[in-house]
Amino acid sequence: MTGVPLNIDWQQILLHLFNFTILFGALYILLYKPVKNFMEGREAHYADMDSKANQALADAESSKASYEEKEKAFDDEVRAEKTRLSKEIEAERERRLAAARGEAEKIISDARVEADREKNEIIESAQKEITGMVTDAMEKLTLEQTASDAFDQFLDAAEEADK
């Protein structure tokens, strides 16, 4: 074309445009879009991983809080149970102690009664024994000595017995 500065040719401009349009389309379809899709997919993948990790972390924190709460409740329960049991044990101990005291007093009282009874029996037996001894001695005196002597001896024996 004459008269156009720098030999600008509109037909060649359109040919350049046609060439670039094809290039643009091809590059977009073959290179730009797949690579960008891949990059976005990877970003989404890591974002997903991140959100899952955050979710898991939140769940773990929640579980930890729940566990700590349960542990605290359990500790409180154990403490209350311990208190209750120790009170029960104390009461049982008091009850048993009282029972033991009662039994001991009964044993002591029975023992006393038994001891009194035995004492009385011993005294009674001793008296009987003394009486027997005196009788024996009298019989011996009667058989071995004269009547006076026997009488004196009887008196001596009586005196000794009184002592």
């Binding site: 030999n7 600008i8 060439n19 670039f20 290179l31 690579v35 960008k36 891949f38 990059m39 990877r42």
Partner: protein, 291 residues
């Protein structure tokens, strides 16, 4: 590598370079061996009025258009290979190549999201394609692909956007994309907002064309003279090309996404100010409760 091995390698490469240099001098003509003067070469690099290439016999076109087709073909083939063999094997923990692909996509996607808060999905895809095309197209000139002109002599294919038609296409298309963002975000008002920057297509087009053509001209100049064809092209040809490929890809994509973000941003309704006659008091009516 030991010192001795290193020394041997340096001597070997110096010898190879020397052989190439001698060969270049011996096979050359009197001055530079070029069929055209430097003025013609540089004028043609800007105007594209001498060296044309036949497009399947249908039309004679600028070499930049052919370069554009080849670059697009290479990029589409690369994308196809990546789509078939690489992307299905992507892993959650990326390898080196996957990391590079993700980094490139991530850069443009991030740029679109940062500069344009609304409707940035399409913008990311557009600046990815535009940035990749500018970068790859600019790096393409380093390959030095030779084609035959209609005049019957070979030329090296330039960067596609060093052709004014390619640069205008990119600038105007970017402007249209910006305008589409304005329409999508603000309807008819969006067109108005975009048209306020009416110089934008010109500045986008000619900034791109100027940057790339200046690189091409410097490279042409360097390669034109035989004396400058040793060592200098390593810096001028490779490093400068790499640098302006990166810079131009960044500048165009950044500007496009910035303007796109600006025009696609939804405008809040300004409260109507009503002045009462004869009184200085100003009453505000219809105030948006959200504002």
């Amino acid at each position: 590598m030991t010192k001795q091995e290193r020394k041997k390698a340096i001597i070997f490469f110096s010898a190879v370079a020397l052989v190439f240099m001698i060969g270049a001098i011996l096979t050359g003509g009197s001055g530079g061996g070029e069929e055209e003067s430097v003025q013609v070469v540089m004028r043609d690099a800007v105007m594209h009025d001498v060296n044309k290439i036949s497009l399947f016999g249908l039309k004679d076109v600028n070499p930049g258009l052919i370069a554009g087709f080849i670059v697009s073909g290479i990029m589409i083939l690369f994308a196809l290979i990546c789509r078939i063999f690489v992307i299905p094997r992507f892993k959650l923990v990326p390898g080196k190549f996957q990391m590079i692909l993700e980094m490139v996509v991530g850069i443009f996607d991030g740029m679109a999201k940062t500069n344009s808060k609304h409707l940035n999905g399409f913008m990311g895809a557009y600046i990815f394609a535009a940035g990749s095309y500018i970068f790859t197209g600019t790096m393409f000139e380093l390959l030095g692909v030779q084609v035959m002109t209609t005049a019957g002599h070979p030329i090296t294919l330039p960067a596609p956007l060093a052709d004014i038609n390619g640069a205008i296409m990119m600038g105007c298309l970017s402007y249209l994309v910006i305008m589409s963002g304005g329409i999508a975000g603000n309807g008819i008002k969006g067109i108005g907002k975009t048209l306020k920057d009416f110089s934008l297509p010109l500045s986008l087009s000619f900034r791109l064309f100027g940057a790339l053509i200046s690189g091409a001209l410097v490279t042409e100049l360097v390669y034109y003279y035989k004396a400058m064809s040793f060592v200098v092209p390593v810096i001028v040809g490779v490093l400068f090309t790499l640098l302006h490929a990166l810079i131009q890809a960044y500048v165009l994509t950044m500007l496009t996404s910035l303007f796109y973000g600006e025009v696609s941003e939804k405008t809040e309704k300004k409260p109507k100010v009503k002045k009462q006659r004869g009184k200085k008091r100003v009453t505000v009516v219809n105030q948006d409760p959200a504002a």
